[in-house]
C-alpha cells in the first residue's frame, strides 16, 4: 500500500511520560491511520495503556505533541515552544475521542440508557427526548436496546462493556480508544464484545486497541505496534510484525500466548 495522503486519525510525536523518576514512555512516535484499527501489544508495564491514556487526556505527557485529525491535543507547538492548551481550546478536539475501559466504568446509579444519554444532556445540552433517541440508537447498535432500563449491576460483564461502547459512541467520536476491553471478561463474553468492535471497524471507525487478544489483533488490525519498556520496538502491518523470523522480544512475548489463540499464528 502506498503512503496515504489523508490526514491520520492521530499523530504522536516524541511523546515522553514520566511518573516521578520512572520513564514509562520513551520518545514514542506513532501514526494512527484514519478509518483503520491500530493495535498496541506488549508485556505488562510496557507502557501501552499509558500511551492510550495520554491519547484520552487521562495522563499528561511529559514531552511531545499529539494531534488528532491534524489538531493539537493538550499541548501545541507555538513559535517553537510547547505550550499547554486551555480547556476551552481542547474541548472540541477532546470531544472527538471516545474511550472504553478494561473495568467498563459504567455509573452504577444510572440505567444503561442513563449511562449512554448522560453526556448528551449534561454536556451537549440536548433535551431528554432527543438524547434518549440517540442513546437507543447506539444501544441498538451494540445489541442491547432490550436492556435499556437495566442497571449495570443487573448486566453481565460483556453487556456492561457493550453499554460502555455505546456510551462512547453516543458522542459521535472520530477516534475510539479501547484499553484492554476484554481483559476482565471470560472467553464466552469476550466474543460478544469483540464482535461489536469488529462491526465498528468494518464501518470505518478509527480505533486504537490495547489488547491481549492476539487472534483479534491479527485478524482486525491494519497496524500493530509492539511496545517494550516504554518504547515501540516494532510497528507495521500484522503480517510485517508477526512475520518470521521474529524479533526475539516479540517471540518471547508471543510464547506466553502459544497455549491460547495465538496458536493460529505459530
Amino acid at each position: 500500500m502506498t503512503a496515504s495522503t489523508a490526514i491520520p486519525a492521530a499523530q504522536i510525536e516524541g511523546l515522553d511520560k514520566e511518573f516521578g523518576s520512572v520513564r514509562v514512555l520513551d520518545r514514542i512516535n506513532l501514526t494512527i491511520p484514519a478509518g483503520r484499527v491500530t493495535c498496541l501489544i506488549g508485556p505488562s508495564g510496557s507502557g501501552k495503556s499509558t500511551l492510550l491514556r495520554c491519547l484520552a487526556m487521562l495522563e499528561e505527557p511529559s514531552a511531545g505533541i499529539i494531534t488528532i485529525g491534524g489538531r493539537p491535543l493538550g499541548y501545541a507547538m507555538e513559535n517553537g515552544k510547547r505550550v499547554k492548551l486551555t480547556p476551552a481550546r481542547n474541548r472540541e478536539v477532546h470531544s472527538q475521542i471516545g474511550m472504553v475501559f478494561q473495568q467498563f466504568n459504567l455509573w452504577p446509579h444510572m440505567t444503561a440508557l442513563g449511562n449512554v444519554s448522560e453526556a448528551l444532556t449534561t454536556v451537549r445540552g440536548m433535551s431528554k427526548a432527543q438524547a434518549k433517541e440517540i442513546a437507543m440508537l447506539k444501544l441498538t447498535e451494540v445489541g442491547l436496546a432490550h436492556r435499556c432500563d437495566y442497571y449495570p449491576a443487573q448486566l453481565s460483564g460483556g453487556q456492561q462493556q457493550r453499554v460502555a461502547i455505546a456510551r462512547a459512541l453516543a458522542l459521535e467520536p472520530k477516534l475510539m480508544l479501547f484499553d484492554e476491553p476484554t481483559s476482565s471478561l471470560d472467553p464466552e463474553l469476550t466474543g460478544e464484545v469483540l464482535n461489536v468492535m469488529r462491526k465498528l471497524a468494518e464501518a470505518g471507525m478509527s480505533m486504537v486497541v490495547v489488547s491481549h487478544e492476539i487472534g483479534f489483533v491479527a485478524s482486525v488490525a491494519s497496524k500493530v505496534a509492539f511496545l517494550d519498556q516504554g518504547r515501540i520496538l516494532l510497528d507495521g502491518t500484522p503480517q510485517e510484525v508477526f512475520a518470521k523470523p521474529r524479533h526475539p522480544r516479540l517471540a518471547q512475548f508471543l510464547d506466553t500466548y502459544l497455549d491460547r489463540e495465538a496458536v493460529m499464528l505459530a
Binding site: 484520552a56 487526556m57 487521562l58 474541548r91 477532546h94 470531544s95 475521542i97 471516545g98 474511550m99 475501559f101 473495568q103 466504568n105 459504567l106 455509573w107 452504577p108 446509579h109 448522560e118 453526556a119 449534561t122 454536556v123 442497571y151 449495570p152 449491576a153 443487573q154 460502555a164 456510551r167 462512547a168 458522542l171
Partner: protein
C-alpha cells in the same frame, strides 16, 4: 416502692408534645447536618490547602469535645461575643454543626471511595468538575455512605436530649420534669428511654429500607 406507670400516665398529652418537639428537632438538625456535612466535605476536597486546613481544625474541635460543652459555650458564652440566641435556635444550631461535622467525615470518605475509573469515564465524555460532582460523585457517594450516615442520624436523636440543659422543651426536659413533680423518677426515666429507643428503631428501619431500595445502584465489584 412499686413501679407504677399510672403515675406518669396523666401527663401523656404533655409527653406527646415533647415527643413531637424531639422529632422536629431531630428532623431539622438532621437536614441541616446533611447540608453542612456536604458543604464541608466538598470544600475540603476541592477548596485548596487553606480551606482544608481551616475546616479540618473545626471538624477536629467539634469531634474532640463533648456536645454538652459546645452547647454551653454557644448559649452561655455567645453573648460575650455579641451572639445572643433564643434556646431553640441556639440548640438547633449547635446540634446541626455537631451533626454536620460528623456527616462531613462520612461524606468525605464516601466521595473518596467512588472508583477513580467512574470519574475518568465522566472526564472522557466531557463532564466538567462541577458536573462530575453533581451527577456522579454525590449520587454514588450517597449510596456508599447510607449505613454510616444512618448511624449518625441515630446518634443525633439521642443527642437532642442534651438540649434539655438549656431548657428546650423536648422529651428529656419534659419527662424529667414530670419525674420531679411526681417523684416517680424510675417510671419517668424508663418511659423516656423507651421513647428514644422507639425513635431510634424507626430511624434504623428507615435506613435499612433505603439501603434495600438503593442496593440496585450498588456495585458488587
Amino acid at each position: 416502692m412499686n413501679f407504677d406507670f399510672n403515675l406518669v400516665a396523666g401527663y401523656l398529652p404533655a409527653i406527646g408534645w415533647a415527643a413531637l418537639t424531639t422529632i422536629g428537632l431531630w428532623i431539622v438538625a438532621l437536614a441541616a447536618s446533611i447540608v453542612i456535612g456536604l458543604a464541608i466535605a466538598v470544600a475540603r476536597l476541592h477548596g485548596g490547602l487553606l480551606v482544608e486546613a481551616a475546616l479540618r481544625l473545626v471538624v477536629e474541635a467539634i469531634r474532640g469535645t463533648p456536645f454538652l460543652i459546645q452547647l454551653f459555650l454557644l448559649y452561655f458564652g455567645g453573648p460575650f461575643v455579641g451572639l445572643t440566641m433564643e434556646r431553640l435556635p441556639a440548640g438547633l444550631l449547635a446540634l446541626s454543626v455537631f451533626g454536620g461535622c460528623y456527616m462531613s467525615e462520612v461524606f468525605r470518605t464516601g466521595i473518596r471511595a467512588v472508583p477513580r475509573g467512574h470519574i475518568e469515564a465522566a472526564e472522557c465524555v466531557g463532564l466538567d468538575r462541577w458536573q462530575i460532582l453533581r451527577r456522579i460523585l454525590l449520587p454514588e457517594m450517597m449510596v456508599l455512605v447510607l449505613p454510616a450516615g444512618t448511624n449518625i442520624a441515630v446518634g443525633l436523636i439521642k443527642e437532642t436530649a442534651v438540649l434539655s440543659v438549656i431548657g428546650v422543651p423536648e422529651l428529656t426536659a419534659v419527662i424529667s420534669g414530670i419525674g420531679s413533680e411526681t417523684y416517680a423518677f424510675v417510671e419517668a426515666l424508663t418511659l423516656l428511654s423507651l421513647c428514644y429507643w422507639a425513635l431510634v428503631e424507626i430511624c434504623a428501619r428507615l435506613g435499612r429500607l433505603a439501603e434495600q431500595r438503593l442496593s440496585l445502584y450498588r456495585f458488587a465489584a
